[in-house]
């Protein structure tokens, strides 16, 4: 099969470890190949399951205290040696704190962003896989928008799609981190695109810490340029905040289509 050579490198691709040029070629292939994209999705799911299952053991408070005391304790052998060990301990803690600040802070931000994008990708895929992906079926924005009244705690505008390549399919309620939001599905040249809208304030605790990072990013090529290990998914996304709402646009359509739909929403908001 043609795909066998791709599949041999699929894990390396999903680990974000292929050379940049090859990553881009792989992105293009996975987007167009249903077999490879299904396989990629299954392996991403497995990676996430292993990640969750792997965080299994937690040290006891008693053990933590014991280690802290043993690290802080000065040996009694000699004054000079004592100072050397104390200095080493200080350096170790400083290195650790520096590491924790640099790695963990950015790690947490990146982890949260990864988490949000993963959730959005999951919502997009699982909805499209459903036999009834939308609860309100209409191409008319004046039918779809009022349907959300009383179901979600905010209001939003939908763009006029005349003379555009997009068609509204319908909408449904959704949730992200226990926050209710709107999920709209559009068609563009036979590609399904999801638009998610959530109140920014409800997500702000987590997203504000990421505000310095560009959330307006594309998966998988540049989730973030600083990301040490991008977690590629076969979708293009765009996200932004406007009028107190957080928007996510995701789909397997081209980046240009995703961007066009995002611009229509930005203009309508």
């Amino acid at each position: 099969m043609v795909c066998e050579s791709w599949k041999a490198k699929l894990d390396t691709y999903l680990d974000g470890e292929l050379p940049e040029q090859e990553m881009r070629t792989f992105d293009a292939h996975v987007r167009g190949c249903t077999s490879c994209s299904a396989d990629a999705l299954a392996r991403v799911q497995m990676k996430r399951s292993v990640q969750a299952a792997g965080k299994r053991f937690t040290p006891s408070t008693d053990f933590r205290r014991r280690i802290e005391q043993s690290v802080a304790r000065k040996p009694q052998r000699s004054f000079r040696l004592g100072w050397m060990v104390a200095a080493a301990a200080v350096i170790l803690v400083v290195a650790g704190v520096t590491y924790t600040y640099v790695e963990t802070r950015s790690g947490r931000d990146l982890a949260y962003r990864d988490h949000v994008f993963s959730e959005i990708a999951d919502l997009h895929v699982s909805t499209l896989a459903s036999s009834s992906p939308v609860d309100v079926i209409s191409t008319d924005r004046h039918t779809v928008k009022p349907w959300f009244q009383g179901k979600i705690p905010f209001a939003f505008n939908l763009p006029e799609l005349q003379n555009s390549e997009f068609t509204l399919i319908g909408g449904r309620m959704t949730y992200l981190d226990q926050t209710p939001g709107a999920h709209l599905i559009y068609d563009a040249r036979k590609h399904h695109i999801s638009v998610f809208i959530f109140p920014e304030r409800a997500l702000s605790l987590s997203l504000s810490s990421s505000s310095s990072l560009s959330l307006s990013s594309k998966l998988p090529a540049s989730l973030d340029q600083n990301s040490p290990s991008p977690k590629p998914l076969p979708f293009n996304t765009e996200t932004w905040s406007q009028g107190g709402l957080r928007y996510f646009v995701i789909g397997d359509a081209s980046p240009a289509d995703i961007d066009s739909l995002a611009k229509l929403f930005k203009a309508a908001a």
């Binding site: 392996r43 299994r56 280690i67 803690v93």
Partner: protein
């Protein structure tokens, strides 16, 4: 404490025993303090700490016993399996069976378990894995690939059994 929770989690996965994991972490910090002069500022502090922990484990009684049991198969990447429709991944997720996955990871040989956990849980890059495990990047890649394949192979019978159970349940419902 830098990396304390992560090191303990990894130590417990390696030793599969709480007391031994605590001893291992304690010894790791003691060695890190004692040998801090060997740490080169600007190099990877995390890889250095994990390397100390791993080396300490490998020279411990449990580590020696475990590594004696590692099969001497070559570090070569075999052919990829063709993916089936009902993959262990999807069925596992559907049933959210974390315990099943944890027990499958537990049963992996230690050299597969460690590379898989460091990659997926600690999200180490191949370069970091290479530094931590003291093996070339090519070995990291083939070992990781084989670890994943072994895990999938071990989950497949459970996944198939799960499918049969679900089908039987469906049959029962239809029969009512």
């Amino acid at each position: 404490m830098p990396l304390f929770d992560q090191l303990y989690n990894f130590a417990h996965w390696l030793t599969q025993n709480r007391e031994e994991a605590e001893d291992l972490v304690q010894e790791t910090y003691a060695k890190a303090l004692k040998g801090f002069s060997s740490f080169q500022l600007g190099t990877n502090f995390r890889a250095w700490m994990y390397r100390i922990l791993r080396n300490t484990f490998l020279t411990s009684r449990t580590g020696l016993r475990v590594t004696m049991m590692v099969p001497l198969d070559p570090e070569e990447d075999g052919p990829e399996l063709v993916v089936e429709h009902d993959t262990p991944e999807t069925l596992l997720l559907e049933r959210s069976n974390r315990e099943l996955l944890q027990s499958a990871i537990d049963e992996l040989p230690v050299h597969f378990r460690e590379v898989l956990l460091l990659c997926e849980v600690e999200e180490m890059s191949y370069q970091e894995l290479s530094e931590t495990l003291s093996v070339p990047i090519g070995t990291v890649m083939s070992r990781l690939s084989r670890a994943r394949r072994t895990l999938r192979d071990r989950l497949r019978p459970h996944a198939q059994a799960g499918t049969r159970t679900v089908e039987m349940e469906k049959g029962t419902i239809h029969g009512l």
